[in-house]
């Protein structure tokens, strides 16, 4: 498979007078076209920073990133922000159609796609409301619908389901998988939930506590389409689960001592 994103010795330092923080330390990885990669790591290890650099919202201090763009008329990447990503002065509908409108697509197409994804995330009755009238989970769904509707080549998702209840989380996880299988997007997905990483990913990257490094890579080749119930019963996944759990435990201990 072709390499979509190639990251080489990426280092990010936040410099302030007297105190600089090394958020990412020589991170390298290759992500293939259409691959679904999950990144798991302790809080503060630089996951969001990595995603923001890929989204061109933050500059890198050293290293190299290459992203291959296939089509000029499609957006390269869209980000689902970890929190507060939806715009309070736009209605739910306007938030979801934001990317499409920024690209000045024909109004008919904007409306169709917006309605389609509002339906998918279960918010079509709420489309005229302003964000202040929504719950935290509903806001997060708006943010997800906005990224999906934009139909980018790469989806960058920063703990998108963390604020959701289990039911909505299951629905959206399956939705994400079906969209991904349909469209073969490349997805980089940050999560704290090991179950989630195992359910969704082709590959899981484990990061160390600060400064963030990739310290382990787990191939997750259980057959698709996957169901949550199957994943629970699978012996191999259970082993992976324990492996990741132990690793995270170690890292958190290390960062606390």
């Amino acid at each position: 498979m072709d390499t979509k994103i190639s990251i080489e010795n990426l280092t990010k330092v936040f410099y302030k007078k007297n105190a600089s923080v090394t958020a990412l330390d020589e991170v390298s990885m290759d992500i293939a076209e259409g691959e679904f990669v999950c990144i798991v790591g302790p809080s503060g290890c630089g996951k969001t920073t990595l995603l923001r650099i890929l989204a061109d919202l933050e500059t890198l201090s050293a290293g190299k990133i290459e992203i291959k763009q296939d089509k000029k008329d499609r957006p390269l990447q869209s980000m689902v922000f970890q929190e507060r990503g939806i715009i309070p002065w736009l209605t739910v509908e306007e938030n979801v159609s934001f990317g499409l409108k920024m690209r000045h697509l024909p109004i008919q197409q904007v409306r169709e796609r917006t309605d389609y994804y509002l339906q998918k995330v279960g918010l079509d009755q709420f489309k005229k409301l302003y964000p202040k009238e929504l719950s935290g989970g509903m806001k997060q769904r708006v943010s997800i619908a906005r990224a999906f509707a934009n139909d980018p080549e790469i989806l960058l998702m920063d703990e998108p389901f963390a604020a959701l209840d289990e039911q909505n989380k299951f629905i959206l996880q399956e939705e994400l998988l079906s969209i991904w299988e349909e469209t073969k997007k490349t997805v980089i997905f940050i999560t704290h939930s090991i179950d989630e990483a195992l359910l969704l990913s082709d590959r899981i990257l484990l990061m160390s506590a600060q400064p963030g490094k990739i310290i382990k890579e787990i191939k997750n080749d259980s057959p698709r389409p996957r169901k949550i119930e199957q994943m629970r019963a699978n012996q191999k996944t259970a082993e992976h689960f324990i492996e990741i759990l132990n690793h995270l435990h170690e890292e958190v201990q290390k960062s606390r001592s």
Binding site: A55, D56, P75, F81, G99, P131
Partner: protein
């Protein structure tokens, strides 16, 4: 649980809440009564004191007499003449101050080189009361309407420009990230993010500007004017016609109230997301 029991419980709960609601409503009404009653009581006390000569009638004519004067001034047309003149000046001055204030404020908020070069000038000029410049303004623009308009514009400009700048700067950076990530052009960024995002704080500046405009018009018309509410107040005072003077004061307070109601209404309309 027997059938119907659940109903009974919920029925009771509704009753409890209904009682609570009634209590709250009563309280609300009491508060409303107080708001209406207290100025009326004040006027009544004033009336009694004045009629019984406990306070000097020459300085504090009884409210009923002031109202009588108000009506006779309405009949003679004198009142409307002064009123329209002042309203016209306030309106023009307000626009002449607020519109450049908004435009410059947005530019200052959006482009930091502009902000850093203009803000020292704004900061230096702001503390100077425009009224202190009135003599110069009169020399430059004469004693006609335009000098009043300029004076008001000068006072309205500052709170509007400062608040508009602050409004743009204080937009949460995550919305800038969202705009960038979704490829907003600078025109889209301006109309979808910068303008609506700065609107709440900008509106506060406009509210302040409106209040300042009223303060300024009265003072400006006291010096070098031949009409207007300020002129009415000043000449009545000098001629010791205090009933007429009080009519002028009532007008100012009425318009202050009216304008802030109007602005609050507009604010609700253009900021439905707040």
């Amino acid at each position: 649980m027997r059938p119907g029991e659940n109903m009974k419980i919920s029925h009771k709960a509704v009753e409890v809440e209904q009682q609570e609601w009634k209590k709250r409503r009563l309280k609300e009404r009491m508060k409303q009564m107080l708001t209406i009653a207290s100025p009326i009581i004040l006027l009544l006390v004033w009336e009694c004191l004045s009629r019984t000569n406990l306070i000097d009638v020459r300085f504090f004519p009884p409210p009923t007499k002031i109202i009588g004067t108000l009506f006779s001034m309405i009949y003679s047309g004198e009142l409307f003449h002064h009123m329209w003149v002042s309203l016209y000046r306030i309106f023009c001055g307000f626009l002449l101050g607020a519109i450049p204030g908004i435009v410059i404020g947005l530019l200052m908020g959006l482009y930091s080189p502009i902000r850093h070069s203009i803000s020292p000038i704004v900061m230096a000029l702001m503390p100077i009361p425009t009224l202190a410049l009135l003599p110069i303004i009169i020399i430059l623009f004469g004693i006609g309407d335009f000098s009043k308009v300029v004076t008001i514009a000068g006072s309205v400009f500052f709170p509007v420009v400062i608040n508009t700048t602050a409004g743009v700067i204080n937009i949460d950076s995550i919305y800038l990230d969202v705009a960038k990530n979704y490829g907003a052009s600078s025109k889209d960024f301006f109309f979808k993010i910068a303008l609506p995002g700065s609107l709440p704080v900008m509106m506060e500046g406009i509210q302040m500007g409106q209040a300042i405009a009223l303060l300024t018009i009265v003072a400006a018309e006291m010096m070098g004017a031949t009409s207007g509410i300020g002129y009415l107040i000043w000449t009545s005072y000098k001629a010791f016609m205090l009933q007429e003077m009080f009519v002028g004061l009532i007008l100012i307070s009425f318009f202050g109230y009216l304008f802030s109601l109007l602005l609050r209404f507009i604010q609700k309309k253009i900021l439905p997301w707040r």
